[in-house]
């Protein structure tokens, strides 16, 4: 049966040699090499559940009065987009499961990319010849952030509507061109009406998924053509990759991971409520709720927006840099700039332009690890600052005090993290040298 299928395909495509090579393609074995796949399979779940949602969702801001069976919304004025989402959640059988799985998958997708990025960074996998793969990955991270933001903003509920206003303000805050861009994207001032909803919809449902899909294909092709990196071991060298073949060893592992990702996402989608928009109510420009937050992967921007002191940079009556720019645009731009430039900078500073197929353990590159930890600590402290109001409500720590504390910690803690990490790396390395020496001494015959 297998023989007949393969023959059929080979006759029509000539692909048997490729298939044979692909089936024996070598994958180095380490658990941390599977993190990218977690992101990949999350994306697959996103597409599948997303397609289902498009079969019910109405991307229209036309106003309707709700006449469904959910009492607390009876008679409320809302957009068709919001109403159709309420309908999917509360009236379409299995609709809530699919919708919640979709939303959890989006959160997990970005988280998996971040974990994968951290692994790539701290093992030096981004070095030549894989820097292009790394850039493609960073681009996918940016698109994933945008895609998630657009996805939950399509619903036009109170929480995401507030988030869109902030997004509009950040775009407006870009010096010289911000307001022009914002007017272009929104077709006029906020909230923009149906044109903007259509644009979000087509970007979220078609343009960005295609872009991400193509980048995934490019990313995987690059990974495959250069082979995966590996840690130094008895047999692995810079010239030789050692691992297990796709078939029969790797395929069931990968398949197992795919089903595990799907399992976790559907379990979360069914058991843990996420974004219960029927409780938030529809969005109106004049309405707001306390404790509104974006999805986690944009929380770093809230922290930044809250920490910046009150000032607009003006020249006469020309507002050069509105306040929201620093936290909402400059901060993420800086973060991604550093990430994009890192491979080049590291090459320049270390003078190391060689190919690297072997990975560093984090301790093997103390400077990179320490600077990396400091950099991500910086981002993380800013992220935490976004939850300062929650900490006030729960622990009674003065919010104003926290703002000041965070403004200081944001610069101090990364330096501390840098020093501590560097010390730890060096100590670990020294410890290994001592171990080796000790073993050599023990191996010597007694005098």
């Amino acid at each position: 049966m297998i023989r007949r299928t393969v023959r059929y395909l080979d006759e029509r495509s000539g692909g048997a040699p490729f298939l044979r090579k692909a089936l024996r393609y070598v994958f180095p074995d380490h658990w941390s090499f599977l993190l990218g796949e977690v992101a990949l399979y999350s994306f697959v779940i996103l597409v599948l559940t997303g397609i289902y949602l498009t079969l019910f969702f109405k991307p229209s801001l036309a106003t309707v009065a709700y006449h469904g069976d959910y009492l607390p919304l009876r008679g409320r004025e809302m957009s068709e987009a919001y109403q159709s989402t309420v309908h999917i959640s509360l009236n379409v059988r299995a609709g809530l499961l699919i919708r919640q799985t979709h939303h959890w998958a989006a959160d997990v997708f970005v988280a998996a990319i971040v974990v994968h990025l951290l692994r790539i960074f701290f093992t030096g996998a981004f070095r030549k010849p894989r820097d292009l793969t790394y850039y493609v990955g960073l681009l996918m991270l940016i698109l994933a952030l945008l895609e998630g933001y657009l996805g939950y903003s399509l619903v036009d509920d109170l929480l995401s509507g507030m988030g869109l206003a902030i997004g509009y303000a950040v775009l407006m805050s870009i010096p010289f061109v911000g307001a022009n861009l914002a007017q272009l994207v929104w077709n006029g001032p906020f909230p923009g009406g149906n044109d903007f909803e259509s644009r979000m919809y087509i970007a979220h449902v078609l343009l960005l998924p295609i872009a991400i899909g193509m980048l995934i294909a490019l990313h995987l092709t690059l990974v495959a053509s250069r082979h995966h990196t590996q840690f130094l071991s008895r047999r692995a060298t810079e010239r030789k990759v050692v691992g297990m073949p796709t078939f029969p060893a790797y395929a069931p592992r990968s398949l197992g991971l795919a089903f595990a990702v799907a399992a976790v996402l559907f379990l979360m989608g069914g058991l843990i409520q996420i974004n219960p928009i029927w409780q938030w109510g529809p969005y109106h420009v004049a309405e707001a709720t306390n404790g509104a937050q974006p999805d986690w992967y944009l929380g770093w921007l809230i922290g930044a927006l809250r920490l910046v002191p009150s000032f607009d940079v003006t020249v006469g009556n020309y507002t050069l840099v509105p306040n929201a720019f620093w936290g909402g645009a400059a901060f993420p731009l800086l973060v991604f700039l550093v990430l994009f430039l890192w491979p080049t900078l590291e090459r320049r500073v270390t003078g190391d332009y060689a190919f690297h197929n072997l990975l560093d353990r984090p301790r093997d590159a103390p400077w990179r690890t320490a600077l990396g930890v400091a950099f991500f600590t910086w981002i993380f402290i800013v992220f935490l600052a976004g939850a300062a109001d929650r900490m006030f409500v729960l622990f009674g720590l003065s919010y104003e005090g926290q703002v000041w504390a965070f403004r200081v910690l944001v610069w101090v803690l990364p330096v501390v993290a840098l020093l501590v990490t560097k010390r730890v790396c060096n100590e670990l390395l020294r410890g290994e040298v001592v171990e080796v020496r000790r073993k050599l001494v023990e191996a010597e015959p007694a005098a």
Partner: protein
């Protein structure tokens, strides 16, 4: 260190907020009334023992310590006392719901006494059953959600906490809306009619156990706990799966 910090935040955010703050350090002074004492007189004695240091004799108020209570009526007194907002140790602190140290009789006596100081509104008798749930959510969003959060879980206002309403009884809600305790605005019947107030109260009661057919509600406060679940349940499970499938590094 990062992990420890995150764990602390996680635990803190997932934990139920401390509902009952501490009552005053010094406690309250209970006064045993002689038999035959009228409630108002008993209230006067209790007032003299517990409240006069800030609110002044006869509730006239004392500069920088406590406002005048003349004309605030049974409504305000009942609210502040039955929630434990008062007595308050330090006038500079925000009053918060705390354990009530007075007995029921003492409370009633104090309320009667304060009501006798220049009249004032009575304790309201709301009828939430007559209110409309949808109207209630709409009104709550318009007037209240900015401070108390759309699911009435509470929030932050610069220099103050807007408390969660999970423990607020219908009478307390009505009293708070009409009185405007601490920094909260005061909504009279001209702005929010009694019928509208019934709807708001009905909604707040509903919001204690809203429709959570999606599963574990994570406290109804939105994306922050959702992010924690993403990392501490989703990512942890998936990294564990990777660890089961893949190899560890050999030294």
């Amino acid at each position: 260190m990062r992990r420890a910090l995150v764990m602390c935040v996680a635990l803190g955010l997932l934990a139920v907020p401390a509902a009952a703050a501490d009552p005053p350090q010094s406690g309250v002074t209970h006064v045993h009334a002689a038999p035959g004492t009228s409630p108002v007189d008993w209230g006067a004695q209790l007032f003299g023992a517990n409240c006069v240091t800030c609110h002044g004799p006869n509730g006239r108020g004392l500069d920088s310590r406590g406002p005048s209570l003349r004309g605030v009526g049974a409504r305000a007194a009942d609210f502040y006392l039955r929630t434990g907002y008062m007595p308050l140790d330090d006038p500079g602190n925000e009053p918060q719901r705390s354990r009530v140290l007075f007995s029921k009789g003492e409370l009633a006596a104090l309320v009667e006494y304060v009501a006798s100081l220049g009249g004032g509104p009575r304790i309201p008798r709301p009828q939430p059953g007559q209110g409309g749930l949808a109207k209630g959510q709409e009104l709550f969003t318009e007037h209240c959600a900015g401070c108390h959060q759309v699911d009435a879980k509470g929030g932050y206002v610069t220099n103050a906490v807007a408390p969660s309403l999970d423990h607020a009884s219908p009478v307390e809600i009505a009293e708070a809306v009409r009185t405007g305790p601490y920094l909260m605005p005061r909504f009279t019947g001209r702005q929010i009619s009694d019928a509208q107030l019934n709807s708001i109260i009905r909604y707040v009661s509903y919001a204690r156990h809203p429709d959570d057919r999606g599963g574990w509600a994570l406290g109804h406060i939105g994306p922050v706990p959702e992010g924690l679940v993403t990392w501490f349940i989703g990512i942890v499970l998936l990294i564990a799966t990777c660890a089961v499938i893949g190899k560890r590094i050999e030294s």
